[in-house]
């Protein structure tokens, strides 16, 4: 747990951070966000004492960080930054090994740890260990940067816009990858960004700052539902409703669906269908083939004629998709109700537009 109480940073006459109180629970992914100059990076760097606080107290697990030597403190805290800062004269392996080397781990343990970390970040050790930073792409370099921050297995990770300099596609894949890593490792993370979408996608708690003060500190859903003031409302943007949908999963909202197998025939379909609802056509294994509406059933001579076929891989929704993606699929295919399927396309249930609107 990291707790900041009354933390202030003064540069001459200006206050970069004003009496900040913030308490970060262990295992929490906290994003510090705000416009440039709001003091978010300054706050982050006061935690590992790259910047010394002018006043106030920062404690990690109840111990005042001022009681440590700054170097000792920093070796216990992972640190990743936007410019990555890999050492160009060291191989990837040596770069990742920096903190373990400072901590005087033995060589075998370091080597093992480096391999483990490269694999964790989806970099093949056989290919990447001996490369130099100049031989890496931006995304690869940042993966190494994250691996380096994790090297000595610190409980706390400080990250200052680590994905800020990457192109949107690489950034998104690294975000997703890092979330996977975090689910596995459960570090206490303090993450600075100015990108609200990044904050919403990654954070378990968001701290919004302006002019050196904390404006709102809450879970992403709560910030979207009840922004503290006009500034927060403007900061999260006009599409806050859509952002909220992005945080909700399909899982709890879909319900059981009526389906019929091809061999059961037209009569069974007519018996089973209910006015105002669709019937999903599946094959013997339960893979969705198409849908039948009450209207298409009247006057149809067989089941095939009554069916509008669909490809479950394109038009199906997965249980762990978020509602924003689900909505996008439904708009694209013109569904009021969309099939929820598993990886093999087997029908699990259906998600209706009204369920999304009520969420």
């Amino acid at each position: 747990m990291i707790s900041l109480s009354g933390v202030t940073k003064r540069y001459g006459e200006t206050l970069a951070v004003k009496a900040l109180d913030l308490s970060i629970e262990s295992g929490e992914f906290t994003v510090l966000i705000g416009p440039s100059g709001c003091g978010k990076s300054t706050t982050l760097r006061m935690v590992n004492r790259l910047i010394e606080a002018t006043a106030g107290k920062i404690e990690i697990d109840g111990e005042d960080i001022a009681s440590y030597r700054p170097e000792e403190l920093r070796r216990r805290i992972g640190y990743a930054i936007q410019s990555v800062g890999l050492f160009p004269h060291m191989t990837v392996e040596k770069n990742i090994a920096v903190v373990p080397t400072l901590l005087k781990w033995d060589e075998a343990r370091i080597k093992h740890r480096v391999g483990e970390l490269l694999e964790l970040l989806s970099l093949d050790p056989a290919i990447y260990s001996e490369k130099y930073p100049s031989q890496l792409s931006g995304g690869e370099a940042q993966r190494v940067g994250v691996a380096r921050a994790l090297a000595a297995d610190p409980a706390i990770l400080l990250m200052d816009e680590p994905f800020g300099a990457l192109d949107p596609i690489t950034r998104e894949s690294l975000q997703r990858e890092f979330l996977r890593v975090q689910r596995e490792l459960k570090k206490t993370i303090l993450f600075v960004t100015h990108d609200i979408d990044e904050a919403m996608a990654m954070a378990s708690k968001i701290a919004i700052m302006r002019d050196g003060s904390l404006i709102q500190y809450a879970a992403p859903e709560e910030i979207l539902e009840s922004p503290a003031d006009r500034f927060v409302r403007e900061f999260i943007g006009a599409d806050s409703a859509l952002k909220r949908l992005a945080l909700l999963k399909v899982g709890p909202l879909f319900k059981r669906a009526k389906s019929i197998k091809e061999r059961e025939g037209l009569v069974a379909a007519k018996e089973r269908i209910v006015e105002g609802e669709n019937l999903w056509l599946t094959d013997e294994k339960g893979v969705v083939k198409g849908w039948i509406s009450p209207r298409s059933l009247t006057g149809a001579e067989d089941l095939t004629e009554a069916t509008t076929s669909l490809d479950p891989r394109a038009a199906g929704i997965a249980k762990d998709d978020n509602l924003r993606d689900a909505l996008s699929t439904m708009v694209k295919f013109g569904f009021r109700t969309a099939p929820v399927v598993d990886k093999g396309g087997i029908l699990l249930g259906e998600l209706s537009l009204s369920a999304i609107l009520e969420a």
Partner: protein, 249 residues
Amino acid sequence: MVFDNAAKRRALKALLLLLPLFALLTLSTSLWESAFGPLFPRLEQLVYPLASFPLLVGEHLLLVGLSSGAAILIGITLGILVTRPWGRDLLPAASSLASMGQTFPPVAVLALAVPVVGFGFAPTFIALFLYGLLPILANTISGMESLDDGILEAARGMGMTRSQCLFRVELPLAAPVILAGVRISTVINTGTAALGATIGAGGLGKPIIAGLIGDNPAYILEGAILVALLAIIIDTILGMVSVARVEGV
């Protein structure tokens, strides 16, 4: 990092040619006589007689070695000191001294040193040291100042102490630029050291001065050729060191 093995091989080949040639010209007087005899038929004395070439080369190397050695030691140390947080106040002064100092002709430094320390080895050493110090200081400063801020922030942020940061990150990364300064400085010093002969410091400048005074072009050529060869050899060796350095870092 650039891995320039081809450059290293070229330098090695050049040395295999240059070193025997230099040894031959230093050790054998008959070679000079047979070369200069037909060129200067009216000269009575073809080879500088007052000291043997090995002795002159030794004196020259001692002068260059000591003055450049001191310049390297002090220049790099000063460059490091003024780029530390607590030495930063002196950085502008050191930078302008380093660049201004190089516009001063070495002869002027010699002339100024003589009234202070007298004739001989000492004033030449001082002039060469001061003159050689400046390119090394200038390059050390620019090497240190050109380092990427993100790299230094990462080094500090991961828990390196100031000295770990200096020796593990800053110096290795600034080394190519610093070594370029060392190379320039030492090569210039090798040539400039010949001027020491004018105030009695010995070295390969002696035959040159004697030739100028006694109107003997053979003496001048002997001194000049040996100084030039020595400078080229030193340049090639230092060039190899910096290539090796770039590779090793």
